[in-house]
Amino acid sequence: MTKPESEWTWKELPVGNVILEPGNASQYRTGDWKTLKPVLNRELCVHCGLCYIFCPDMAYNLNAEGYFIADLFYCKGCGICAKECPTQAITMVVEEEEET
């Protein structure tokens, strides 16, 4: 998408609202649905990757230092990662407005 869909006029829509660009759901910010965001305590993290496995939105990615970090552009704040973390290294905290 060249611009957010809230700016499209009816004349610009493709016939039948067909999406011509494969995989453009990756441009859809689901991160603004959340009220809580996951925060990782690196001292407790054992790099098991369960947060990455259980995340229903595949928001978690492995960073260069070997930690799984949630991409807040996609993270909906469901808290499954925090629930599944075997060492309680993830806590859900209220996301401040300026961070969205």
Partner: protein
């Protein structure tokens, strides 16, 4: 000139589907549409028609298959009646919003209850706002012709909409009529192979039927509304091209002895032929009566309708469906909308007649005209009644 043959209208409709080089037929048999789907099944089984015939388990699936096949670029056909249409209604809205030019014949039949297999327009009126172009036909020839017209129109790049061809169940579907078949060469000339704008193909992935947020839904519907409203000029153009090819010309609003008439009957579907007999009889008696027939139901041809009727003193609108709890029949409702705000417009008197296939003869039309004229003269300017109900 094509060969003129005596043929059952349903069989002629199926022959038209064959001649239109349809790739996919997906339909579930239901009275009174059955003969169309049976004949298509035979044509495919006998190798006379090169198409996939899908034996589906319901009408919901019948139209769903058509949505899928049409999305791949295959010319697709379905047909149904009554409860079957009700069951596929969910998918009718999807087909039009996805802009898939499927063609469907509806052999119009009453919606239950009471359970009835006979003809009226309650089935199609239940999906009136589904976004398909909707034609009403008056005789077998029109049904046969409109299969080709529907594909040519629907598949036009400026239109890309599904099309419904309504034919009255039994009264048209099960009668043998003289029908002029069009030579295959002429059909092929009129109806080139379908060239889809977008289609499902692994070489070029696209997404059809995606979810839309409130922030874009209204824009999507506006685009759909504009395309069907503006398709009217294309519909007229396609009819003209067809007329040049076959000598049979069609119009959104057809008129019969209406130009100088004070009283106009307004009908839709096969009522038109019977009503024209009534008009002839009354003209012989010196009555100023004419007939206006609505062929194009969606998009409703407001301008053409006004042009055909504004000179009259009164319109007697005969509906074949009831809008329960509403202002009368659905056709009268549209007619009143068309006339609203026009100074000195004709008075509209509305009858609902012939529901569930009850016969409406020329004498009945004359009785309705007599009754309406007396009522209007007596000051009843908003008359609405169900004709012939025993009190």
């Amino acid at each position: 000139m094509g060969k003129r043959v005596g043929i059952e209208v349903s069989i002629a409709a199926a022959e038209a589907v064959k001649q239109a080089n349809v790739d996919v037929v997906s339909a579930y048999p239901i009275t009174p549409q059955t003969h169309i789907v049976e004949h298509l099944s035979e044509l495919v089984a006998n190798g006379e028609m090169d198409a996939e015939f899908f034996c589906v388990e319901s009408e919901h699936s019948a139209l769903s298959v058509c949505v899928g096949s049409e999305a791949t670029g295959a010319r697709s056909f379905t047909c149904t009646s009554s409860q079957g249409l009700a069951l596929m209604s969910e998918i009718t809205y999807i087909a039009s919003a996805l802009r898939l030019p499927i063609v469907m014949i509806i052999s119009n039949r009453t919606l239950s209850a009471p359970l009835s297999i006979w003809n009226d327009h309650s089935d199609v009126m239940s999906i009136r706002d589904c976004g398909w172009v909707q034609f009403f036909t008056e005789n077998g020839q029109e049904v046969y012709d409109h299969v080709f017209i529907a594909y040519r129109l629907g598949e036009d790049r400026e239109v890309l909409l599904p099309v419904i061809v309504n034919m009255d169940g039994f009264i048209l579907s099960h009668v043998i009529e003289p029908i002029e078949m069009i030579e295959q060469g002429k059909v092929d000339q009129f109806l080139p192979p379908y060239q889809p704008l977008h289609r499902l193909h692994p070489d070029r992935p696209v997404t059809m039927g995606a979810f839309a947020l409130p922030s874009i839904f209204a824009e999507a519907k506006k685009a759909q509304e504009v395309v069907i409203q503006s398709s009217i000029s294309k519909i007229i153009e396609v009819w003209k091209t067809f007329g040049v090819l076959t000598g049979r010309y069609y119009n959104p609003i057809e008129t019969y002895r209406s130009e100088d008439a004070d009283t106009l009957l307004v009908t839709m579907g096969c009522f038109g032929e019977t009503a024209s007999v009534a008009v002839d009889q009354m003209r012989e008696e010196g009555r100023s009566v004419g007939l206006v027939k609505i062929r194009l139901w969606r998009p409703f041809p407001f301008e053409e309708f006004k042009k055909a009727t504004l000179h009259a003193k009164q319109l007697i609108v005969i509906d074949r469906a009831i809008s329960i709890g509403g202002p009368g029949g659905p056709v009268a409702s549209e007619v009143k909308s068309a006339l609203y705000g026009v100074d000195g417009h004709p008075v509209v008197y509305n009858f609902v007649a012939g529901i569930s296939g009850r016969d409406v003869t020329p004498t009945d039309f004359i009785k309705m005209i007599d009754k309406a004229e007396i009522e209007i003269e007596g000051g009843n300017k908003e008359g609405y009644e169900i004709y012939g109900v025993r009190e």
